[in-house]
């Protein structure tokens, strides 16, 4: 069943407005870009610190931290991409399922008209 704002009550007992998910996926993609900028700043600062410390142990620790920061923020960046793509894919799935229901309903009404019944 559909209402005028695109909200759907699906037959499996859950509801959703796919267009909101589509826009939300784009918003999360924007956050992914912010994450990438932060990751670059973190890795760049830590690596430069290691070169300016002048203390062997501290330089080594900063180099290790730079590597760890790079790994972590790359994972976070990928997780944002996963979230964004998941929202877009979910929205499309819901829209496809809704279209299939409409198509089936049209066939059903057409059959009733053909045999002389009220739609």
């Amino acid at each position: 069943m559909r209402v005028n704002d695109g909200w759907m009550q699906m037959s499996q007992g859950f509801s959703v407005t796919p267009f909101v998910l589509q826009v939300g996926g784009q918003d999360v993609a924007s956050l992914q870009g912010t994450c990438q900028a932060i990751a670059e700043d973190v890795a760049g600062a830590l690596t430069a610190m290691a070169g300016s410390a002048g203390h062997q142990g501290l330089s080594a620790a900063l180099t290790r931290a730079a590597g760890q920061g790079n790994r972590t923020f790359t994972t976070i960046w990928a997780a944002y991409g996963h979230t964004s793509q998941g929202l877009a894919a979910s929205a499309q799935n819901y829209l496809d399922a809704d279209q299939a229901v409409i198509n089936n309903l049209g066939l059903f009404l057409g059959d009733r008209v053909r045999v002389g019944l009220q739609p």
């Binding site: 973190v42 960046w77 990928a78 991409g81």
Partner: protein
């Protein structure tokens, strides 16, 4: 940098402070990103009036993502603080070492010796600052190492959190603990080389030979060193040892320079091929020579008679060939006459 006595410690405190400020800003950005993520994903679920199991999974994952991203702010800030503290100690140590060196130099140049005590005081103060610097560096290294541990994915998102579990199952991400700087970022195209079947170990990649990609058979080293070689055409006999067959037995050749000799085709000629046959038997020919020439003449005449048949009497070369046969017949008769003793 050594002056009068103390080594001025290396390092750039001003740059360290600037970089620490940059890291603080990035850390705050991570905190804000987590907050914004929480607000946005909550709004998405709410505005979409999204319910059901998929909505629950999304909310769980995005909540973990926002929490972990915010949590990165703390260890990053701790690193910035540790580096700022070290930079301050480094700044003091460098200044004290430079001052002590300058005073030490001045004391050396002062003939009265009145500055020696002052130089010793500054020197001791600088030594203390250098010791403090070493301790500050060690302490900062420990703090940075601890913060780096807290920056791990498993620490930020929980060892069994949705994000950690998802990351561990991503082929492109692999095991995040083995993910090294410079590795491909997820989403980038990575070209995986084919297994060369040589197993693990260092390989020497040869320079491009310009022949393009193809299977090549590299010959074994022939021990002749580098250089241009002329490779003979394959005789189809296969490698490597060949037995050269003995050629067919040719006619015997008389290499005596005075006697006519058979050539490779079995025809008689004088040692100088253009010389005519003798019109008479030379006096110095021995009996053995006569017998040899007789035999050779017979063979040569037979050979030339065969060729005469193939060549034909009426061809352009026919008359000359016939004349040659007649010469040899005439010489044969003379030789036979000589052998008979007549």
């Amino acid at each position: 940098m050594t002056s009068a006595g103390l080594t001025v410690p290396s390092g750039d405190p001003a740059a360290l402070r600037q970089l620490a400020a940059q890291l603080r800003t990035a850390a705050q950005g991570s905190g804000n990103l987590g907050t914004n993520t929480s607000e946005l994903t909550g709004a998405i679920t709410s505005d979409a009036q999204w319910t059901g199991s998929a909505s629950n999974s999304f909310s769980s994952f995005s909540a973990n993502l926002s929490t972990g991203t915010s949590a990165a702010e703390a260890p990053l800030t701790r690193i910035a603080v540790a580096v700022e503290n070290y930079a301050n100690v480094l700044d003091v140590a460098q200044q004290k070492a430079q001052t002590a060196n300058a005073i030490f130099q001045a004391a050396q140049d002062d003939p009265t010796g009145s500055m020696i005590s002052t130089a010793e005081q500054y020197g001791q103060s600088a030594m203390d600052a250098l010791d403090a610097l070493q301790q500050a560096g060690d302490q900062a290294a420990q703090q940075v190492g601890s913060a780096a541990d807290d920056l791990q994915v498993g620490s930020l998102f929980g060892a069994h959190g949705p994000v950690t579990s998802w990351a561990g199952g991503q082929p492109a991400l692999g095991t995040y603990s083995l993910w090294q700087p410079g590795d491909p970022v997820p989403g980038q195209t990575e070209t995986i080389p084919l297994d060369d079947g040589l197993g693990l170990g260092p390989e020497s990649i040869p320079a491009d030979d310009g022949l393009g990609p193809w299977i090549e058979t590299i010959p074994a080293d022939d021990g002749l060193g580098l250089g241009t070689e002329t490779i003979p055409v394959d005789d189809g006999l296969g490698p490597p040892i060949e037995t050269i067959p003995v050629g067919p037995q040719g006619p015997l050749v008389n290499y005596d320079s005075d006697l006519p000799i058979l050539d490779g085709s079995g025809k008689l000629h004088m040692p100088v091929r253009e010389d005519p046959l003798p019109s008479y038997v030379p006096a110095d020919w021995t009996r053995e020579d006569l017998e040899q020439v007789e035999s050779d003449l017979k063979d040569s005449i037979d050979k030339r008679q065969e060729e005469m048949v193939d060549l034909g009497e009426d061809t352009p070369r026919g008359p000359a060939h016939r004349a040659r046969i007649n010469q040899e017949i005439r010489l044969l008769r003379q030789v036979q006459k000589k052998l008979s003793g007549s």
